[in-house]
Each structure stands twice: as structure tokens, then as C-alpha cells.
Amino acid sequence: MERSGSRLKILAFVVAFMFVALSTRLWFLQVLAGPQHDRDARDNSLRTVATDALRGDILDRDGRRLVHNRISLEVRIKRDELGDEAEATLAHLSEILGVPAQELGEELDTKLFYSYQPVPVAEFVSEEVFFKVREEPEKFQGVEVVEQSVRSYPQGSLAAHLVGWVGQINAEEIDDPLFAGYGPADLVGKAGIEATYERWLRGKPGEERFLVNSDGEVLREFDPRPAEPGHDLRLSLDLDVQRIVEDELAAGLRRARTVFDASTGRNLAANAGAVVVLDPNTGGIVSMTSWPTFRPSWFVRGLSPEQDHYLNASEAAPSLSRATQITYAPGSTFKPFVALAALKEGLATMGGYYDCPADYVHPGDESGTIFHNWDGVGAGSLSIAQGLKVSCDTQYYQWGSDFYFRDAQTNQEELQRRVKQWGFGQPSDVDLPAEAAGTVPDRKYVTEHRARYPDGWIPGIDILLAIGSGEMKATPLQVAQAYAALASGKLCRPHLVSRIEDGEGRVARKIGGRCRRIPYTEAELNYIREALRSVTTGGTASSVFAPCSLDVAGKTGTAERPPFQDTSWFAGIVPAERPEYVVVATVEQGGFGAETAAPIVRNIMSRIYRTPCEGPALGEAED
């Protein structure tokens, strides 16, 4: 029996080992991993259903509604309540909705929602559906018809590009940490200020929480946390001006299409255009539009195939905002900034006179490149102001060339640095998505785009830049921002939203232009403003503005854009004495600036100030 005694000790040892193993595992499970398991237990039994918050309204400067919400009826199915009669229920539902039962079944077969979350299967149903479901609950077990708020656009297509649209969150967005806390059916701003101010507009979804057991039975309902509605956006936009602007841009384009373009031998295409109206003192956007346009309401019910094609596949690309997302060569509207650069860098003086020949050849250039004046005619010797008035190009070629030589000595890129002071070549940081930055061709740009500059850094770059041509590109908004700086002496960040308000109209946040002074003296600025004033009184735009009693300082621009017809520009400051508005119009394939863009700006100003102009709204073929 001694043997069995020692063997019993082995047995005791094995048993002791069992206890060590179990206790170790328990320590790991309960103490070390305890908190995680506690969360798991909570997740098991706590069901959270989010309730939508009412999205904020979008209002113009006077509180008129651009976007608000209305109620639509939505049919949802709670899959875990469908029960055994699921097929019969779907059949009944298919009957009253007029949708095949099979389609409804497919909608339910989704992994986007948890089984306890209701799946939306039909939106915008009639009240009739609502009553039918309510009257016969036994036929529609697990079906609910709920009120859902959707976006409504009382102004129609007005300011479509600015407002943007909302849509259901997509797969990429839902994985984005930016959209943490969003549900699979949630709406998010996809474009315009709906997107930029998503986090303000959205509000805070409410929460209903239930305690459920393993059979999904609700044992307890906790106090729901009500949804907090989103903030309202108050814009600097003036609905009246916006209406005028959209109206006049469309009319201007129609007019332009009747004009014969001698250089291409057919009428102007005038296929697209944009207008920006800025308050030069604040940077607030009073109006902004892009043509062709669309209706934000199309997105509420989902796009029809035709709408989808028009928006996303057609050449018109109407969803692009020409005012902020497309860049154009600014042409002669760029000259005031080059003139000021020349002044500042000592290449010219306010009292000086500079040759304006018919053609210009860069000294020492043996390639035979001749830079022509826009009208192919010389004008003798002109001051800076006189040069701007008639839009002499050759003066500027000379300055461009001078800048090239200056730069060759100093390596400071004086011209580029100067024009960038007005906001060119960088995003204006406007509160709209996907803004284009534009280009100021400098050494860095040339190095990075070798293919476009096979000869590298050559004088032609500065010479063309001096007349806002070549690779120089800006959005209409950037041009407006620069003219606003010219008008007020300060460069402001253009912005559409001026304040964010809570539901009771209390201001939650004010948004300003973050204006800063530009490094030019009042005398210099005044000299240029006066020069621009002469453009409308006796210069390139005088034929357009002569019939009006408006006090406008402005500049025409005509930018070549081969193989297309020229881009037509006009940038104006009104009243020139005490600037209130800067109005910039750009028309793709619109011909001369005085021909198409200037009349649009003139008509807009005339209607804003209610001072009718007596002449026709057709300008002459002048740069």
C-alpha cells in the first residue's frame, strides 16, 4: 500500500494543477479582460436606435429661406417583427405601393442595417398608404410608415451650386473618421455649403435605448435622448441680387450666341459662364452663380437616369461651379495688378509714359516671336492709366520683359510674388468645397510642368503673365477677390455664410472675411481706380456703360483659349467712389470682354441700383 500512497500524491498533484489552471484562466478572463467583457455584455443587451435630428435651414442675408425641410412619408420594415407571415406582408405591401414584392424582398436583404433596425423600402408614399397600413395592422406586421424630413428648396434652382445637395452617406464616407457616429441611412451634405457646414447643419441625433434579452424582447425602455436640431446658416447672399444675377447671366449668354465671331467663322458658343458679386468691405459673397445649372431638388428623390446623365456624364458638366471650381486665364482684367507691381518695383511711375507699339519683340530674342497688341494697332506713348484705359498689351509685354531681366539678376520672382499678394495662385479658402487654386506660373511651376515648358524658364512666361495669359489661371472668384482688395485696400477671404444661428436665432458663430491690408499706398490704389474708371467712361467698356449713370471702375478682359473661342471677362467696382459691390462676369467662348461679359455686369449693376441704362446691352468687340 505504500505504492498507492505515493500514487495518491501524484493524483493530488494533478488535481492541484487543475486548480492552478482554472484560477489562472479566471484571473485573465475576469480581472485582466474584465472591462472588455463588460462592454461586450452591454453591447449584447443594449439596443440603440438613433432618431434623426432636423437639419438646419439655409437663409439669405435677410432671413429668406433658401433651403428648409418638409415632411415625407417613408415605409420601413422591421425585419425582426415580420414574423412567419413575411411573404404575405410583403405581398400586401407590394399591392399598396405598386412595387413588386420581389424588389421589396431584395431591399430587406441588406447588411447595412442591424436586424432590429427598420429598413426603409419606400419613400414619398402617399397618405393613403399611411392610412391603409394603420387600418389593417394585422396585414402589415412589422411595417411602419413614419414621417421623415427631407430637404425642400422654395427658391427652385436659385443658387444651386452654392446650396449644393444632400444624399445618403456612401460606403467610403461611413468608414471615414470624419463621419463617426453616422448611421447607414443618414443624409450628409454632398456639395455646396450643405457639405462645408455639414457638422453644423446636421444637429445631434437623438437616441432611444432599450434593454433586450436574448430573444430580442424589450424588457425596459430608457429615457430617450431627444434629437437636437441642426444650426441654421445665415448667408451674406442677397436673394434679390442672386435672382438678378442668374437672370442676367442667362440673358447675356443668349445674347452672345447671336454674335458672329469672325476669328472662328461662327457664332459665339457662350456655353457656360459665371458671375460673382462680392462685398469688397467684408469679403461676403452677395451673389454667385454658374451656368449651366441644375435643381437641388432632383437629389431629394434620387436622380432620374436623364438627370443623372445630364449632371454626371454630359459635356455641360452643370454640377461644376464655374465660379470656384474652374480656372480661366484672366486676360486683361489682370493688368491692374501687373501695373501696380511695375510701380512698386520701380519699372514704371505714375508720371511716366511708356510706348504702346503695334508689336513687341523681346530684346535679344532670335526666335522671331512677335507679341501683337490686341487690336494690332499702336497708340504712341501712354501713361499707365492711359494704357489701362485702352488695354494696351505691348506696354505690358515690355514690363513683363523688364521683370524677366530683373528676376534674372535678383532671382526674386518679383512679378509672381507681387501678383500673389492679391490672392492669385492659391485657394481663396471660400466656404465651398473643391475650390480650384489657380496658377501663377513661377519657376517652381515651370520645373514641375516640364512637358508644357520644353524650353524651361524663358522670357515669354513673364511677358504673357503680364497680360494675364499663357498658363496664368484664376477662378472668377479669385478675380473678384483681387478687385475687392483693389476697391477696399484689404484682401478678404470670400465667404458665403456670415453667421451660424441656433434654432432660436441666437448667433452661435460669426464668420468674417479675416481681412488684411495689402501692401500698396492709397495713392497708388487711387491712381489705378481712377484709371479703371476711365475704362467705362472713355475706354474699352465705354460703349457699354455710356448709356448708364452708374459710377463704375472696371476692366475688360479677353483671354485666348485655343482651340476654343476667347473667354470674355469683365470685372467692375461700383460705385467707384465708395465701393459697395465688385461684380465679375466670365463667359466661356464669349468673345471680347466688352462684347459679352461687360454688358452682363452693366445690367446687373443697373438693376441692383435701379438706374436704367438707355442703350442696348450689346458691347463692342473690344478687349
Binding site: 495518491l8 489552471a21 478572463l29 474584465g34 467583457h37 436574448s214
Partner: protein
């Protein structure tokens, strides 16, 4: 007759004086703890079904009372009578294991023929012969081992003993009841170990069993759901959700108990019925969730005390038959406790072995009580 001799005589005649009170106390605490845990595991579900929330506990109490009677009965007569009748007991057990396969006698669930049903329905009495077979096997093996001539069993002895164990083992295995089979193997192995079987013979036995297990898998004797459970244990990530569910929920329940537990009747997993089979095989999750690590270790301590007393009794017994009996019972408790709790906390595969004294269920409870009765018996009569 002198006085001293008279005292000795009196001692021998009245074994009640040598009753192991401590073992009885531990057993009683385990039984009471079982009621507490079963109430927590069942009252919410019963309430939801508009039934008496005490229904299950009451039933368990009745079983426990019968168990106590059986316990006392097993302790009263001299355990050596068991040796005399070991053959009869063993044959009776084998017979019941065969009869359970007769369709109109035995009842089945999930394809397993496991128990006899008396008086039908949910309120009826279910007798699971494989449970009682454990006692039968212990008695039979103890009797055979104690009759061996030599201190170290020969190969022939070994073959004979294994042959004895193999018959009920096969009968249980084909039910199929892998959990009980494991307990049988452990009982036989433990008793052979204590009987002094040579190390290399034990090694050979182990090798043979491994070959047989492999053969069982190859020949398709092991059912698909059993394979699933094994897969779930080896590779938790890639198992079907329904198999994994049980393990996950049990682990969450025990884990969320933390150090001190969620409080009695306040365990989320328990009150909301997230752990399937919680009152039977997964009863330990209630202790883990509601009383935490401290409570779980308390339960382990109770079992440790039970096993300490069992092994001590095996040690104290002067009679090989008594030693083997106590060893068999100790191994039975140890294996069931380890496999059950190990399964609940994820270090053993799911096998469906009840936790002695704590799990809801009649036969298991009765057999556990009988085991303690045998232990008490051996302890009381250890001097002879």
C-alpha cells in the same frame, strides 16, 4: 474485557463517531450554493413565461433531499458489502445502458439515446443510466483491483481491468455521450494509477487510447456536432456562429463579472438569458458573472476542499478496496469539475458534463450525493 478494549469495540461498532463532518459541511454548502445559482439562472425566464420563478429551484431542492437520503443510505451499511455485490451492480448498470437504446424505453434528444423517462413530460422523472454507471464502474474496478495478487498489476491484470472498463465505456460512447466517456476513462486511469500500474504500462494505455480516438474520428463514430464543438475549441475565429455563440456568451458572462461580480441577480448575461443551458452545464457562469473572480475562486475552493477530503480518505483507508473506491469518486469529481469549468471559461472543448452539486439535473445530483456517501462510508470504517 478491559476498558480499553471495550472502547475500541465501541468505536468499531459505532462508526458514526468517525463521520467526516467537514466533508458533509462542504457538500451541504455546495448544494445550497447550487440553489442560489440555479434561481438566478432561471427566475427571469420563468417569469417571462408567466411561471413560478422558483419552479426550477424547488425541483432541484426535492432532488437534493432525495440525494441526501441516498447519501446517508450509502454511508450506513459497511462499504465492503459493495465489493460482495460489485458483480451484480456492474451487470445491472450494463443492462440499463443497453436498455436505454431500446426505442420505446429510452428517450432521446439531438440523436442521443441517454435516459429513461418515468411519468412522462417535463414534470416527470428522468433517469440517466450513464450517470449511475459511474458509480457502478468505480465499485467494479475497486473490487477487481483490490483482488489483485501482486502490488504491481501484471499485463494480464491490466488487460482484464481495461476489458471491464471498456464495456460501459463503449455503451456510453455510442449513445453518443463523449463527456461521460471522458469521465469513465479518467476514473479508470486514475484508479489504475493509484493501483500502482507501472509507468510504461500507463504510457502504453495512453497510446492505445489515442489510437482509438483517432479511429473513432476516422470511422465516423464521432458526430458532426461534436466535431464542430471541437473545432470551435481549436479555432474559435472560424467556427459557425451558432457553435461559437455558446462559448462567446459564457466567456462574456464570466469575464464581465470582474473582480467582485455584478451582484446577485444583477448579471446582465444571466438576467437577460444570453447564456444557453445556463442552469445545467453552464451554471458556473452565474457564479462568475454575479460574484466575480472572488466568487468563482470561492466555488473552486469548495471543490478543492471536497477533493482534498476525498483524496485524504483514500489515503487514510487501511483497506485497498476503500482506497480504490475513494480514489474513483475523487477522480470522478475532479474530472467533472475541471472539464465543466474549463469548458465554461474556454480552456476545454464543449462536452456536456454537468458540474457536480451545482448543475440543475436529477441523475447527476443523485450520483454526486452517492459518491459523497461512499466517501463518508470509507472514512467511517477506515480502521478495519
Amino acid at each position: 474485557m478491559d476498558l480499553v478494549a471495550g472502547r475500541v469495540y465501541a468505536d468499531e461498532r459505532r462508526p458514526i463517531r468517525h463521520i467526516d463532518g467537514f466533508l458533509l459541511l462542504v457538500t451541504t454548502i455546495l448544494l445550497l450554493l447550487g440553489f442560489i445559482l440555479i434561481y438566478s439562472a432561471t427566475n427571469q425566464t420563468l417569469r417571462l413565461d408567466r411561471l413560478d420563478p422558483f419552479a426550477r429551484v424547488n425541483r432541484q431542492m426535492v432532488t437534493a433531499v432525495i440525494g441526501m437520503v441516498l447519501l446517508l443510505f450509502m454511508a450506513t451499511f459497511d462499504y465492503r458489502f459493495l465489493k460482495v455485490y460489485a458483480g451484480f451492480i456492474f451487470v445491472g448498470v450494463l443492462l440499463s445502458l443497453v436498455l436505454v437504446h431500446v426505442p420505446f424505453l429510452g428517450s432521446s434528444e439531438a440523436g442521443a439515446q441517454r435516459w429513461f423517462e418515468f411519468a412522462g413530460g417535463a414534470g416527470g422523472l428522468q433517469i440517466t443510466p450513464s450517470e449511475f454507471a459511474k458509480i457502478g464502474l468505480i465499485v467494479m474496478l475497486a473490487a477487481s483491483l483490490s483482488e489483485l495478487k501482486r502490488d504491481t498489476p501484471t499485463v494480464q491484470d491490466l488487460i482484464r481491468i481495461c476489458g471491464i472498463a471498456l464495456v460501459p465505456l463503449m455503451l456510453v460512447f455510442i449513445q453518443p455521450d463523449i463527456g461521460t466517456s471522458i469521465v469513465f476513462v479518467a476514473i479508470a486511469g486514475g484508479m489504475l494509477l493509484v493501483a500502482g500500474v507501472r509507468g510504461r504500462h500507463l504510457g502504453a494505455l495512453l497510446a492505445i487510447s489515442l489510437v482509438m480516438i483517432a479511429a473513432a474520428f476516422q470511422l465516423g463514430v464521432v458526430k458532426e456536432y461534436q466535431l464542430d464543438r471541437l473545432r470551435a475549441f481549436i479555432d474559435r475565429e472560424n467556427t459557425p456562429a451558432d457553435v461559437r455563440y455558446n462559448l462567446d456568451q459564457a466567456e462574456i458572462a464570466v469575464g464581465s463579472g470582474g473582480l467582485f461580480g455584478q451582484g446577485y441577480l444583477h448579471g446582465r448575461q444571466t438576467t437577460l438569458d444570453y447564456v444557453p443551458e445556463q442552469h445545467t452545464d453552464f451554471i458556473f457562469t452565474v457564479a462568475g458573472e454575479e460574484f466575480g473572480f472572488v466568487g468563482a475562486v470561492f466555488v473552486l475552493t469548495l471543490f478543492a476542499l471536497l477533493l482534498w477530503r476525498s483524496i485524504r480518505i483514500a489515503f487514510l483507508s487501511k483497506d485497498p478496496f476503500g482506497t480504490y473506491l475513494a480514489t474513483g469518486v475523487a477522480v470522478m469529481f475532479a474530472v467533472q469539475m475541471f472539464v465543466n469549468i474549463g469548458m465554461v471559461i474556454g480552456i476545454m472543448p464543449i462536452t456536456g458534463i454537468p458540474l457536480p452539486f451545482l448543475s440543475y439535473g436529477g441523475s447527476s445530483m443523485l450520483v454526486s450525493c452517492m459518491g459523497v456517501g461512499i466517501l463518508l462510508n470509507v472514512h467511517m470504517r477506515r480502521f478495519k
